[in-house]
């Protein structure tokens, strides 16, 4: 591969990663549940793009597989599974009250992204000279921002998206440093993501049926001090 082509691929990968980071910020801050899901789909497409570009750049055929798996499962199967399992209400929900307001959340996100940069760069460097690129720090940032989404959100769908976004982040870092992981493992991980969506969808449906809300984050009756949980009748 000529230097020019390699450089072009590198810059395109950097572009994909940069946009990936933007979608991570979007997932943390978007109030609309449906918007969150759309951002997640965009994020997965960018992950697929980055995998394909890296595959082209380093002649790693199995990264094309990763790209393909991401293209099929996340934009197509995940929304389909959600429609099948969970109540339709989760899409139209809009979170008025988050745990933290959006400017504060975004400030924390920014701090996390900077932190991820300082953690990710030495990591990538330790893995070898050919790994220095934006993938590792942005992947770590994606992971942390996904975790932040899980802590500040209350609605079911954004929480689920947060979980999947964490996995996306881990992958974005992974495809650059662990290129030859093996197709079987990749497929297994992708299937696993689908099982996550399925189980959580079923759980949300059950919560809506029995408790009457999809703001699962607001369920908080199990604690030590209240002594409420002990009164619950069970099985019989």
């Amino acid at each position: 591969m000529s230097d020019g082509a390699a450089q072009l691929l590198d810059s395109l990968d950097a572009l994909a990663c940069g946009l990936f980071l933007l979608t991570s910020f979007g997932i943390v801050a978007t109030r609309q549940a449906r918007g969150c899901l759309q951002l997640f789909i965009a994020q997965s497409l960018l992950l697929a793009a980055s995998a394909a570009l890296l595959g082209l750049r380093f002649h790693a055929a199995h990264l094309y597989g990763v790209a393909l798996v991401n293209l099929v499962t996340k934009p197509i199967i995940v929304p389909w599974l959600l429609r099948k399992t969970s109540p339709a209400g989760i899409y139209t929900r809009r979170e008025v009250e988050q745990v933290l307001n959006i400017p504060v959340t975004l400030t924390i996100s920014l701090a996390l992204a900077i932190f991820a940069y300082f953690v990710g760069i030495p990591l990538a460097r330790a893995a070898g000279p050919q790994f220095v690129g934006p993938n590792v720090p942005i992947g770590v940032a994606g992971l942390l921002l996904g975790a932040l989404t899980l802590t500040v959100r209350r609605e079911a769908l954004p929480l689920l998206v947060g979980l999947l976004a964490m996995e996306n982040g881990a992958f974005l870092a992974g495809i650059s440093i662990a290129r030859d992981l093996g197709m079987l493992v990749e497929l297994a991980i992708a299937t696993d993501g689908l099982v996550i969506v399925f189980i959580m969808g079923v759980l949300v449906r059950a919560v809506q049926q029995h408790v009457g809300t999809t703001a699962v984050g607001e369920l908080a009756s199990l604690r030590e001090s209240g002594g409420q949980s002990g009164d619950a009748e069970v099985t019989t």
């Binding site: 979980l163 992974g174 696993d192 199990l222 030590e224």
Partner: protein
């Protein structure tokens, strides 16, 4: 290929459960499959002890995916054992709920799948596959935790899934980093054994990072403080036989993956892996010992005790000597058998009094002598009263710690264990022997004088589960002793 058969048995059982042949069929299939698996894993463990591993495990395509050594054989036997007693216990316990057949089928199918996912953890050789089956344990057990569909059960299941998967996300990055550090060391086979081999050549920074990510990520699922918040909820809201599985063996089988990292990380000088484990372990023991005092729900009591015991095991590993390693492995065994018994006893009490509130249960021994005495026996056993099983291992750990000269850590551990003893026994003692007019719960809960008798299968399971608790306190059979020693040996390089 015995390991493949062991893994297939619960899957086949899960499929057979779906055949509509009535209630007895579902429980029968599950019990028979569990007993078959107990025999198979026992035979496998005996082979491992005798050094007769199936040839396929040494060479050929299998060794890339499946590997069995002392540590994994030990965990396999424990899972099969608890799965058997819990299956027998389920027969009567679930019948008691008068559930619809469809619901019961969901229970048994999920039960077998959950057992499969746990058995797969110690069997697989590749770390990322281990990560995937750890995820599977969460997903297979989630619907068991939410089984009763009460508000509390659903909340517990949701918390369980979200926090476990969040931990898993962190661990995934850890495993990918682990792979990268192996590539940086010049490659090799990406299996636990292969990693131990190339570990000295790995870049220390990458290896340490991956260790910490895995410790924190999977530590969430083991229930280490401060990532434990979901555990008391999930381990108390599930049906009692499932609690026995969750607390007794699921935690241990996840801890197995963390322990697998030990010989790898020890290749790096100054990695302080032992210190991390010691700190997290002591934090878990101390935190849960104090929380035990203010619990209102007796199933939560045992759930917190699981956090404590995971802490004890981690502390023992952190103490570092080979003697402490033996103690840690012995503790793994004793915790599994004892904690499953405790949840059977708690389930029996729940059937008898139909409330989980400690304050509204008084004089249980008069209402149900079996449940009452089982609860007291379980409480004494899990808190380490001599001459029961847990006492032996805790004593071994403390002795090894003192021999190492780690007086502060060992002293703290001993103090926390004593506090936990009082925390659990104060509550249980009041529940079982307390007078009916004692306590504020009296006006809420009418004293029921009629004797309550447990379903036969629950009694059988209680007796079966009590046998190892009693026996292991005074005598460790020779093959088990050697298996524990082999497992302890795999913790160090």
């Amino acid at each position: 290929m015995i390991v493949v058969v062991i893994l297939l048995v619960p899957v086949v059982a899960a499929l057979l459960v779906l055949v509509p042949l009535g209630r007895r069929w579902m429980s029968g299939v599950t019990v028979v499959a569990s007993i078959a698996n107990l025999v198979l894993t026992g035979a496998l463990a005996l082979d491992v002890v005798a050094g007769r591993l199936p040839r396929e495990l040494h060479d050929g395509g299998w060794s890339r995916w499946i590997a069995i050594d002392g540590l994994s054989a030990l965990i396999l036997v424990l899972i099969a054992l608890v799965a058997t007693t819990a299956a027998i216990y389920s027969v009567g316990y679930m019948e008691h709920g008068h559930l619809a057949v469809r619901k019961l089928r969901l229970y048994y199918a999920n039960y077998n799948l959950f057992v499969f996912s746990m058995l797969a953890i110690p069997s697989v050789a590749e770390p990322t596959l281990a990560w995937i089956v750890v995820e599977l344990t969460t997903l297979c057990s989630a619907l068991l935790v939410s089984f009763e569909n009460t508000r509390e059960a659903l909340e517990a299941a949701w918390k369980y899934v979200v926090l476990s998967l969040m931990g898993a996300g962190i661990a995934l990055l850890g495993f990918l980093t682990l792979f990268a550090s192996m590539q940086a060391a010049g490659g090799g086979t990406y299996t636990w054994a292969g990693l131990v081999e190339v570990a000295p050549r790995m870049p220390p920074l990458l290896l340490q990072t991956s260790f910490l990510l895995i410790l924190i990520g999977l530590g969430t699922k083991v229930g280490l403080v401060p990532m434990h918040t979901w555990l008391p909820d999930a381990h108390s809201q599930a049906p009692s036989p499932v609690c026995a599985l969750l607390s007794g063996v699921e935690t241990t089988s996840i801890l197995y993956v963390v322990l697998r990292m030990l010989p790898i990380i020890e290749a790096v000088p100054g990695a302080h892996a032992a210190t991390w484990m010691l700190v997290l372990g002591l934090l878990s023991v101390g935190f849960s010992a104090f929380l035990l005092l203010q619990v209102h729900d007796y199933k939560r009591l045992f759930a917190f005790s699981t956090v404590e015991h995971m802490g004890i095991i981690l502390t023992a590993v952190g103490l570092g000597a080979s003697a402490a390693g033996y103690g840690a492995m012995q503790q793994v065994v004793n915790h599994s058998v004892t904690k499953s018994f405790c949840f059977f006893a708690a389930g029996a009490a729940l059937l008898a009094v139909r409330t989980r509130d400690i304050a509204s249960v008084r004089g249980l021994i008069r209402r149900s002598p079996v449940a009452g005495s089982a609860l007291i026996f379980g409480g004494l056993a899990i808190t380490g009263a001599p001459p029961l099983a847990v006492f032996m291992s805790e004593f071994a750990i403390i002795r090894a710690g003192l021999a190492q000269g780690k007086y502060v850590a060992t002293g703290l551990l001993a103090v926390f264990i004593v506090i936990a003893f009082f925390g659990i026994m104060i509550h249980l003692n009041r529940m079982v022997f307390g007078a009916d007019d004692d306590g504020p719960g009296n006006e809420r809960h009418e004293p029921e004088t009629a004797k309550f008798s447990l379903p036969a299968s629950c009694n059988v399971a209680l007796v079966l589960a009590a046998v190892p608790v009693l026996v292991l306190g005074v005598y460790v059979p020779e093959p088990l002793h050697r298996l524990i020693a082999m497992a302890a040996a795999t913790l160090t390089r």
